[in-house]
Structures are given as structure tokens and as C-alpha cells.
Symmetry: C2
Subunit: 212 residues, 2 copies
Amino acid sequence: MAADHTRNAILQAAERLYAERGFADVTLRDIVAAADVNLAAVNYHFGSKDELIAELFVSRSLVTNRERLNLLKAAEEAGGGRAGIDKVLRALVGPTLRGCLGPDKQRSDAARFMIRASIESVAPIRKIKNREIGHLRRFAAAMQRSLPDHAMVDIYWGIHFALAMAHQTIRDSERLDKLSEGLCDLDDVQGIIERIVGVSVMALTGRAAAKA
Amino acid sequence: MAADHTRNAILQAAERLYAERGFADVTLRDIVAAADVNLAAVNYHFGSKDELIAELFVSRSLVTNRERLNLLKAAEEAGGGRAGIDKVLRALVGPTLRGCLGPDKQRSDAARFMIRASIESVAPIRKIKNREIGHLRRFAAAMQRSLPDHAMVDIYWGIHFALAMAHQTIRDSERLDKLSEGLCDLDDVQGIIERIVGVSVMALTGRAAAKA
DNA sequence: GATAGTTTCATACAACTGTTTGAATTGCAA
DNA sequence: TTGCAATTCAAACAGTTGTATGAAACTATC
């Protein structure tokens, strides 16, 4: 249908503008101007501004979550139902980091949008984030299979810390870059992933991780 | 002066309201109503809404930063100019965590305000945060004295990860609580500090930390 | 107790926001 | 072509926001 054209133009323009300028100072009028559609089109196609934002965020989250679970599944199948803890953690933090870090120039609107979403915490997105707990539980279960004699409480703290490091690196890569005067190479995504996985494995097991 | 009364009433009301409801949906009119002063008083005493927010944030930050540096200084003096890495890290993450975690009921408006400030990222605060790098460098220097044969790049990553864990625990304690179904005790502030310090020390040295 | 400076107040302002409306247009099926 | 639904459009709406104004009420000094 031709109507999809308008819908997609709005989604694409919104994602780009939010990625570039943040949620706070992008108005519907900015979006419709960029998408070259009428102001009323947003409410017609999405119901409200918040639903537009939510749809953007949900669709992007689904992609990341699917990738995470695929990696986890692959790792567990390769290990006969049990994956090494480093592999589980790599499946947890890898997709997001790969999506959101790396050289600025090649960062997609989608990636920058998700970075904004994690920095700015706007109402419609905040509500959705609360539903991601079910997703994390599957990683908790996998980690328990990987470390059968660990207490669950330590596993939860392990997930929490791993996500904290990944998240903060995405959120505030600028501060680390300034603080270290460029010493910390934020374009070396694979190196960062290994660093975070390494620390997380040590946090959980008290000893160094296997190399990737 | 009697004029200070109005100023302080505004500051106090603003802090309480921002702490309770966040920056997004507290207006100047809410603040002046709670402070029982005239609408124009905010612009008269602070210049603008943003300057009011900035003043609140700066004054609260100064308190935390001073406490951090006092702890660091004390630890270094006790160690003859060099503090154990665990003590440096405890000085870095302890004050914020003690201020912002612990049982809800006893959390002050100031603490909840700072939590909001870290979650919601509003423009006037974002600008100020960029100036905190000088403060962090003093911790980097102390860590270098503590671990003289470590590369600076690892020390920067250590600071980054330690702050990441502390910050995320404050930001998203709710998610961890839900995920772990209460298993992770977020009221045990000292326990959390030791957990974060422990992981950070391991991340830096590859071995377990000394007990507090 | 008059005066000058500070502080308060009610009110208006100007701009911007997301949303709604109802008519015009388009696309498609019969 | 006709009829009907889906879509687009310009315009207005209703509400909110932070800020400015100028007069009034204070306060302290001489």
C-alpha cells in the first residue's frame, strides 16, 4: 500500500532526528518536516507521539534480543546444553556493544537512537524496559547451567555488573575518552567486549576467563 | 536577610519535587506552589529554571566530591602517601552509594534528587557533568601510586568499570531487585560497596582484594 | 519619617506543544 | 464510472511552559 510510505518515512525521520538531537528537543513538527508528511499523519498512523517512540524502541530491541538469544542458543548447543560462562556473557553483552560502539561514522541511526534511549530515559521507553526482565532470566538460567554450584544471588549480581559495564561504556564513552585522553580505544569493540567479559567472569568465578 | 527565606524555600521545594516526581513533570508553578512563593521569585532569585537546577546539582555534587577526596586523603596519609587500591576504590564509590542506596524510607530528598539527576539527564546538568573529569583524574593518580607498575590504560578502565557498577546499581536497583526476586539485598549498602570494590580490585589486579 | 534599594506580587506575554477536526483527495473494487 | 473506504491536508484548538513587566509592599539607612 502507498500508506506504508508515509508510515515508513515518519519512522525513518523520527529515528534519525532522535538519534541526532535527542528526545528532548525534537518535536512532531520537526519529524513531519523531515519526513515531508503532514502533521496529522503521526497521530493517524501511530495514535500518539509516545506510541511512535515506543514502536521505534520495541522494534530495535527485538532485533538485539533475538541476536542475543541466537548466540546463547548456539553456544549451548555447541556445548551439549551447557555453555562456558564466558560464552554466555559474550552473548549477553556482545550484540549491544557491537551495535552501539565502534567508529562514529559508521554508526547507524538505529544504533545512535538506542544510545539516546539508554541515556535520556523518556517515559514511553521507561515503561517498556520493565518488560525485559523475562529476557534476562533466560540468561540467568543459562549461567546457572554453566556454573551449577554457584548461588543464584551471585549470578544475578554477575548479570547486573556485566550489563552495568556494557551499558555505561555505551552511555558515557565520551567521558572515558576524555578522562584517558584517548588512551582507552573505544573503537576497538572486540577488545572492549573481551574486557567486560573478562572482568565479569572473574567477578563470578574469582579466576581469569578463557580467551574468546 | 529575609530574602534568603524565599531562596531557601524554593531550593528545598524544588529538590523535594524533583526527587519525588523527576525533572520532566515538575514545572516552575509546581515548585512555587510547594514553596509558597510567587511565580516570579524563581527568575528573580536564580535567573532561570535551568540555573536553579544547576545550583541544586552543583551544591550536592560538591558535598559528595569533598567526601570522596577526604576519604582518599585520609587513606593515603594512613599509608604514608600510598593507599591500598581497595581503599582508593572505596573512597571513589563509597560516598555516592552510601548516599543513594539503603532503605527507601531513610533516603533524603538530596539523595533521591541525585538519583534522578543520574537517571534522567536533563540539559543543565549534562553540561556540568563534563567538568567532573578533573576530579576523577585525582583518583587515577592515586590509583597509579597504589599500583605503580600498572599501565594507565588499565587504571582508566578500572575507574570506568567501578563507577559503572556503582552508578548502575543506583540507577536501576529496581530491575536487579525484580530480576533476583529480592535475593540481592539492596539495603545492605556496605555489602554492595564491598562487592563492587572486590570486583574492581580483581579487574585491576587479577586477584582478590583485601577485606575492608 | 522620608528615601532608596530590595523583594514580592498579580498578571500578561509569547511561544510552543501534541492532538483534533472536518473537508479534500486519493486509491481501489464493483 | 460510481461508490466507498483509506489517507492526506490545512487549520485550529486547548493546554502548558518559562519568562517579563510594572506596580505594590517591604526593609534598612540616614
